[in-house]
């Protein structure tokens, strides 16, 4: 029988060694993420506290806008359980090409490289994990974070000017700001809202939480700001809110307003996105992308205008 001993005293005398090599492997995983993303100039996340505000539509259109402006663009669909970016860009059914060096992403319109959980799923299949813990929320959280880590570490993005990550909905206790924290040298977050008071309320929480996590929020995009009747052309507001007031309170710029555009939305639903840069709604995305580029280059603006 071993007499009672003071464990704290014993541990104070011992030197820790990582002989199971767990710490070493986790350190290497982090290094791999950094190495893989080293060729990307600007990493941006698109987020919102609220679901259904059009994050994916905004992300995809901003990616196309950056590409139209001559940038090399990557798009990471981080919504593991509701991935829709491949379908919107006509890439549904394609897959990542696995090589010993990493996974080669499919190329979408205007040369955009795309990675998504959708590439691992069959038609209409939800994400289901095998094993004894598949219904444990604690395990699911851990698992999903590591799947995202693989998306960051294993996709061969190469040299990119901009990588946009479409985050799942959620504000704080769920994952988006935590996911954003995974991305090394993140340039900032674009927050999408609708002009509804309910959305604004939740979006404020997500901005506050993101800032608490040290994520720089670049600005707000107001989606579904108005609706143009396809029959008579009359334009009406869809919601009664005040995004300007929210931006003022949060001390954030309103990067732009996007109308609800059924014609444009339908082209993405069908996987054949409208690419005409003279189309009015697409021009709005172009303007927002231009403002984001200016924000990313804010140091030059300060040197020039201050």
């Amino acid at each position: 029988m071993v007499p009672d001993k003071d464990l704290k005293t014993i541990l104070g005398k011992l030197r820790y060694s990582d002989d199971a090599k767990v710490v070493q492997q986790i350190t290497e995983q982090t290094k791999n993420v950094h190495a893989r993303m080293a060729g990307i100039k600007h990493k941006l996340v698109v987020m919102s506290g609220k679901g259904g505000v059009g994050k994916s539509m905004t992300t995809v259109n901003l990616a196309l806008a950056f590409a139209r402006q001559g940038a090399k663009v990557g798009l990471l669909d981080v919504d593991l359980n509701g991935p829709c970016v491949p379908r919107m860009l006509g890439l549904h059914g394609q897959s990542l090409q696995m090589t010993p060096e990493g996974a080669i992403p499919p190329i979408g319109p205007l040369g955009i490289k795309v990675a998504s959980m959708d590439f691992f799923l069959d038609e209409a299949s939800p994400v289901r994990w095998k094993g004894p813990m598949d219904v444990s929320p604690v395990w699911l959280g851990l698992m999903e974070m590591n799947v995202i880590r693989e998306f960051l570490a294993d996709v061969i993005w190469g040299e990119l000017d901009v990588l946009l990550a479409d985050l799942p909905p959620g504000a704080a206790a769920d994952k988006p700001p935590v996911i954003a924290g995974f991305i090394p040298d993140l340039a900032g977050a674009i927050v999408v809202t609708t002009p509804s008071e309910v959305a604004s309320d939740v979006v404020q929480k997500s901005v506050t939480y993101a800032r608490d996590m040290g994520i720089k929020v670049l600005g707000i995009v107001e989606n579904m700001s108005e609706y143009r009747c396809p029959s008579c052309g009359e334009q009406n507001e869809l919601f009664e809110g005040n995004t300007d007031a929210m931006c003022e309170v949060l001390d954030l710029p309103l990067l732009g307003r996007i109308p609800f555009d059924r014609k444009l939305a339908r082209t993405f639903d069908k996987g054949a996105p409208l690419l005409d840069e003279t189309y009015p709604t697409i021009q709005r995305y172009q303007e927002i992308a231009g403002r984001i580029r200016t924000l990313l280059d804010y140091k030059k603006v300060l040197a020039d205008k201050l």
Partner: protein
């Protein structure tokens, strides 16, 4: 995780991993001093927790394949692996009784106590909390400050969804300054009070107007950061010049 040999007062060494059964791991440790052996056996759930970290106990012998964990863990058959944990618990803990029976909802008075099947609602009720984390018996809506009528009117004119944030920000400023009454002046001053504790001269504010409006908030923060780095409490034209000088280096 480490194990300590209390006899020898030393860490045990990791030796090897074996699979004693489906979904189970046996992790072997040995004391480098007395030679004692020890094996930790994991249940299927614990095994999966370790594997979802994307690590191999004892280190890798070959580099990881791309998306190794994602591809290895995605369910290809609807029922693959399910029930493994339940079977384990059934065998080891419940002595062959179905696991579900121990988790079945209770009926009668026990069930009526919470008023719903949600196990969290009783806990929340006991803590005196409702949604939003506000105490049901607390002072929601009341303020430690008295608001002048014109300040209150200005606050009430704000959209409902931004009002709580503005109120909390103004009151935080008032608390910091030791004010008991919030007037229009306090509201205005609170807007100019940055979290860095720096204030802006009129001239500096005017120069900030040269920056395009959508980039101004970021510029303001950046200039405040420069001021803080230099230990300056008031942002003057000179601080603006120094900031401009700093950013000219990026041109």
């Amino acid at each position: 995780m480490k194990f300590v040999c209390l006899n020898c007062e030393t860490y045990m060494n990791f030796e090897k991993v074996e699979k004693p059964g489906e979904g189970s791991l046996g992790v072997f440790f040995g004391c480098p001093s007395c030679g004692a052996k020890f094996s930790m056996v994991t249940n299927p759930g614990e095994t999966q927790m370790v594997s979802s970290l994307g690590v191999k106990l004892g280190g890798r012998t070959a580099a990881a394949e791309p998306f190794e964990m994602t591809r290895g863990t995605l369910k290809d058959e609807a029922l693959a692996g399910s029930g493994q944990m339940a079977a384990y618990l059934n065998e080891k803990i419940h002595g062959g009784q179905p696991v579900a029976s121990s988790a079945a909802p209770t009926s009668g008075k026990e069930g009526e106590k919470t008023g719903s099947g949600c196990p969290f609602s009783a806990i929340v009720a006991e803590m005196g909390l409702t949604t939003g984390g506000k105490s049901t018996s607390g002072t929601t809506g009341t303020s430690e400050f008295s608001w002048s009528s014109d300040a209150k009117e200005k606050l009430d004119r704000l959209p409902a969804f931004v009002k709580p944030m503005v109120q909390s920000s103004v009151e935080a400023y008032a608390r910091k300054q030791g004010y008991k009454t919030i007037t229009l002046q306090v509201m205005d001053d609170s807007k100019n009070d940055s979290s860095n504790g720096v204030t802006w001269s009129r001239e500096a504010e005017q120069r900030l107007e040269n920056i395009p409006d959508f980039i101004r908030p970021m510029a303001r923060k950046e200039i405040e950061r420069v001021a803080k780095e230099r230990g300056v409490a008031i942002i003057t034209a000179q601080v603006m010049d120094e900031t401009k000088e700093k950013f000219l280096k990026f041109m």
